[in-house]
């Protein structure tokens, strides 16, 4: 029917800004949740481990969209807590992806060699000092690549807020579609927008990874042309792939 006019582009660009804000805020919340829950999951008190484990299973087990519906519709009715849509969406995304992130933190912290922790004890560091000066600086570079994957998942997850009426890119697209009567141009444009955002995030995380690994005297591993993930193969599998011999199946 008609072209995408300047006014309609403006709607889409405003949507990009909302999506970026939402990604940054939810990522910040998710990072805090991931760190706290991830560390709590290897705490020495069983009750702390149990509660953080339950949090992990519950928020990982349910769908981000269902959680969003719950926060948008059930919290106000059931408990009388009405949140601004942008913050409700941030909360839903942050809590969900924080749960995924906690597994990354837990794994990376456990991968630090026990001798490092023992050295910290021998030098009579307090537990907080051990964490801040010994464990986290070594675990951090290991966390960055999986965090990058989660960040992309989070970016993709932000599109869900359009269902709740938050004016992000996907929401803008439905307005533009109604205005122009054509779907192909606008949906192609916004898919490209999301792709560019994901590319920028991936590149940013690559820089971060390079710096973090350089701090430990390591070199970052090779990535695809895109700079993105190689598939998540469980550690055990990778070791298996290296040590397996022809016909070595037991």
């Amino acid at each position: 029917m008609s072209e995408i006019t300047w006014g309609l582009w403006e709607i889409l660009l405003k949507g990009v800004w909302i999506t970026v804000q939402l990604t940054v805020f939810s990522a910040a919340l998710a990072a805090v949740v991931a760190l706290v829950v991830g560390l709590a999951r290897s705490h020495r008190l069983w009750i702390v481990r149990f509660i953080s484990g339950a949090y992990f299973e519950i928020f990982r087990g349910t769908s981000a969209l269902i959680l969003m519906f719950w926060i948008f519709f059930v919290l106000p009715l059931g408990f009388g807590w009405q949140l601004v849509p942008l913050w409700a969406a941030t909360l839903a995304l942050g809590l969900t992806y924080g749960a995924y992130g906690s597994e990354v933190v837990r794994g990376a912290v456990q991968a630090v060699s026990p001798a490092q922790r023992e050295a910290g004890i021998a030098l009579s560091f307090t537990p907080a000092q051990q964490l801040r000066k010994i464990i986290l600086p070594q675990a951090w570079p290991e966390m960055i690549p999986p965090f990058n994957n989660l960040l992309i998942e989070l970016l993709k997850g932000t599109a869900l807020v359009s269902i709740m009426g938050v004016a992000d890119i996907a929401f803008g697209a439905s307005l533009v579609r109604n205005a122009t009567g054509q779907s192909a141009p606008v949906y192609t444009v916004i898919l490209l927008m999301y792709f560019v955002l994901a590319f920028v995030l991936t590149r940013g995380m690559r820089v971060l990874e390079r710096q973090a690994k350089a701090g430990l005297g390591q070199r970052p591993e090779k990535k695809s042309w895109w700079g993105g993930r190689k598939a998540e193969v469980p550690q055990q599998q990778r070791r298996d792939a290296v040590t397996a011999t022809a016909g070595g199946e037991r």
């Binding site: 299973e57 349910t62 981000a64 969209l65 269902i66 719950w70 697209a173 439905s174 054509q182 895109w226």
Partner: protein, 216 residues
Amino acid sequence: MQWNWSAVGDFMPMFWDGLLVTIQALVLGALLAFALGLVWAMAQRSGLAVVRWPVNVLTEFVRNTPLLVQLFFLYYVLPEWGITLSAMVTGVVGLGLHYSTYTAEVYRAGIDGVPAGQWEAAKALNLPRSRTWGAVILPQAIRRVVPALGNYVIAMLKDTPMLFVIGVLEMLGEARQFASQTFLTVEVFTLVGVAFIVISYPASLLMRALERRLVR
């Protein structure tokens, strides 16, 4: 907060309908994702750059853009091009296509994990390409990646609620419909949320058990 148990009872028939649709979409989507992913993974190992590159670009593009927008794209744009699919078929295709880009990576890792000696043995025995893949490489590769594939099926399950946006009446769609008629929002959304945990937690335990058994 009031909790109305009779509302839960009234919702149950619709809930079971929704669950059935969710499971149908999940099973069909997963089968599509398994099949397409294998196609992508093998194409990415092709000796021809004209096959490798478009597949690489396509899979990265699909994997790094939101499923929700892809569903809208399929639902609104395909009819403009003269292809009309029902909501359910669109949903299954969207879900399957999106997750095929993840399973492709899983297969790729599995294929890379097959020792080089296996390829060489197949060559030494003068096996044709189809036998090399079908009888030597894939049986070893896929065995290793079954748990990883299973984890993506669980991830797919958690993305099925998105299908309600194109009008598929899965669990969330049914819940919305029921809530809009009766205003019993609290009960139905909580029930659907709990249902997801009840399904996905045992499923993830199963995958962990499979991982211990198969990946050895």
